[in-house]
């Protein structure tokens, strides 16, 4: 299957498909459904400096062709992720990308320093775009100067390449992308969720206890494709694309727009086998659209 291979900074991928952060935990649950070694890579749940309990429940709600979530970065903290979660993942033959979050630049740096030194980790995904916690880095994701600053410092602290995950909740996505590229980002990851809300008509209150949640799923795909298409034209670093992927056609669309690889998020909830199924289906779909190698598809809509 060399047709599906590709390389990105820090990542030798046997295929361009990986689960998105927060939608796959630390992999254990999904390893009961299929062999994680089949995956292009695994992006694990956000790690913060300390244990976080996250937001009150309800934390999820369905919307038309999408869902809202406000988990609030619940995680056991970087130390316990390293000691309790990574050993299990290291048994599989798939690169691991650690999603790094924090409330301050110092926290980002601390997490990046610690987790990037674990031999299981091949790259970091710098999460400056979680819309669901006040102290969750969203300010870093909507201000280009702050984004550049945290990128610069994390880049210095990290032993592995750093992909910066961009927030779509901004006026100027290209400006954000260029700012973090200039600050040293090795790649981009886009998009995170859009801030949204749903009301419970009976209770007359937001369904999500946190009031707002992040919108994901097919509903946001056109926004993701637009942003990746625009950013691809303006930066020279590779993009991991995500936002509403459910089919192999979606994957081809992301690659044509400019992504080098893709992550599948909410669709894992509908179908826990989705990543494996998409990997199996990709070669045939590539043929249908006249592609031999994954690399031919990347940015294909710009030629």
């Amino acid at each position: 299957m060399t047709r599906l291979r590709l390389s990105m900074p820090g990542l030798d991928l046997k295929n361009p498909i990986m689960p998105a952060s927060g939608c796959f935990g630390f992999g254990k649950e999904f390893s009961e459904f299929y062999d994680l070694s089949e995956l292009g890579a695994v992006i694990i749940k956000a790690a913060t400096g300390e244990t976080r309990y996250g937001n009150p429940t309800p934390r999820v709600a369905e919307t038309s062709a999408g869902m809202l979530n406000a988990i609030g970065l619940q995680n056991p903290g970087v130390d316990r992720i390293i000691s309790e979660e990574l050993p299990y993942l290291s048994e599989y033959n798939a690169p691991v990308i650690a999603n790094v979050a924090g409330s301050t630049v110092e926290e980002y740096v601390e997490v990046a320093e610690k987790i990037s030194r674990d031999h299981t980790i091949n790259a970091l995904e710098l999460n400056i775009s979680c819309p669901n916690v006040k102290e969750g880095g969203v300010q870093f994701g909507t201000d280009a100067a702050l984004a550049a600053e945290v990128t610069r410092q994390v880049k210095q602290a990290s032993e592995v390449p750093v992909y910066v995950k961009l927030s779509p909740n901004v006026t100027d996505i290209v400006g954000m992308a260029k700012a973090v590229e200039k600050a040293g980002a090795d790649g981009l990851s886009m998009i995170n969720t859009l801030a949204g809300m749903r009301l419970d008509l009976h209770r007359r209150k937001p369904i999500i206890a946190n009031q707002t949640g992040g919108l994901s799923g097919p509903a946001i795909k056109p926004i993701a494709i637009r942003m990746i298409y625009q950013v691809y034209q303006e930066v020279d670093i590779p993009i991991i694309g995500m936002g509403g992927i459910e089919t192999v056609e979606d994957i081809i669309e992301f690659l044509l727009a400019g992504a080098s690889a893709v992550a599948v998020g909410s669709a894992n909830f509908k179908n826990p086998f989705i990543c494996k199924e998409l990997i199996d289906q990709l070669p045939e779909a590539m043929e249908r659209y006249g592609f031999d190698q994954v690399e031919e598809m990347i940015g294909g809509a710009h030629r």
Binding site: F24, G25, V60, K270
Partner: protein, 255 residues
């Protein structure tokens, strides 16, 4: 092991106000380990989230399982439109149910409220099989919403309460409990959060198991949508309803 399959609907009937009984056939029933586990149903392929519904009964020989559900919103309304012969995308069985193998009780009390009643039926059958005496208290809103009274009666004594007194005893299930003191050593309860809280306070001191509900995301333990806090001092600090639960021993989580 959890599997995902297109199960066939072989029976579907309204049994009370907005309440339906559905029987599904496939390979999944063979995987059920405990009463209290649930199936996670993708009602329409265009839905974004599955809907968790408790396994109310199962017959491994016939490869069937039964669910009982109430129309509460868009998903359950769509489910009620499905017909025998249609197929449903089912993931399951999920979670940890009632630890039927390690229950040593001689006399069990089951307390179910509304659409929390279903998992107790499969539990009651298995308790009875183990020779454990079963007493059941079922609480409903009003007469039209009462279901499965007869089914439970075949397994033991049954008390029914309705909020408005239109059937059985008037009031909440908790009002029946004092009268049952001394007639059970372990209790099992499922229902709305407020009811579970009231029941566990009333029955403080007894061994008890509670089945808890929350809006689920993945349903397999990966997304942290469904956490419930554990008491201070717990090393993890939380439990996942879909994976560690939905059934917890009293005191394991904060209601």
């Amino acid at each position: 092991m959890m599997i995902r399959e297109e199960m066939e609907i072989i029976f579907h009937e309204r049994i009370a106000e907005d309440t339906y009984r559905m029987t599904l056939q496939g390979d999944l029933p063979a995987e059920i380990r405990q009463p209290g586990q649930f199936v996670h149903i993708l009602i329409d392929q265009s839905d974004s989230l599955r809907r968790p519904i408790s396994i109310a009964d199962a017959d491994t020989a016939k490869q069937t399982l039964t669910i009982l559900y109430k129309i509460l919103g868009r998903g359950t309304a769509a489910l009620s439109k499905k017909q025998s012969g249609d197929h449903l995308d089912v993931l399951g069985p999920g979670g940890n149910g009632f630890p039927i193998d390690s229950i040593t009780a001689e006399r069990a009390l089951l307390v179910g409220g509304g659409i929390g009643v279903p998992p107790l039926y499969y539990l009651a059958k298995q308790l009875k099989e183990k020779g454990i005496e079963v007493t059941t208290v079922l609480g409903f809103q009003h007469e039209a919403s009462v279901f499965f009274e007869e089914e439970f009666r075949e397994l033991g004594e049954v008390f029914v309460t309705t909020n408005d007194g239109s059937y059985g005893n008037k009031g909440f299930v908790t009002e029946i409990l004092p009268a049952l003191e001394g007639r059970f050593d372990t209790y099992f309860s499922c229902g709305p959060a407020v009811m579970l809280k009231a029941v566990s306070e009333k029955l403080d001191g007894y061994e008890g198991y509670l089945s808890i509900e929350e809006r689920l995301g993945c349903g397999v333990g990966a997304c942290f949508a469904c956490v419930v806090q554990a008491p201070e001092g717990d090393s993890k600090g939380y439990r996942k309803i879909c994976h560690d639960g939905p059934v917890f021993r009293t005191g394991e989580v904060i209601l």
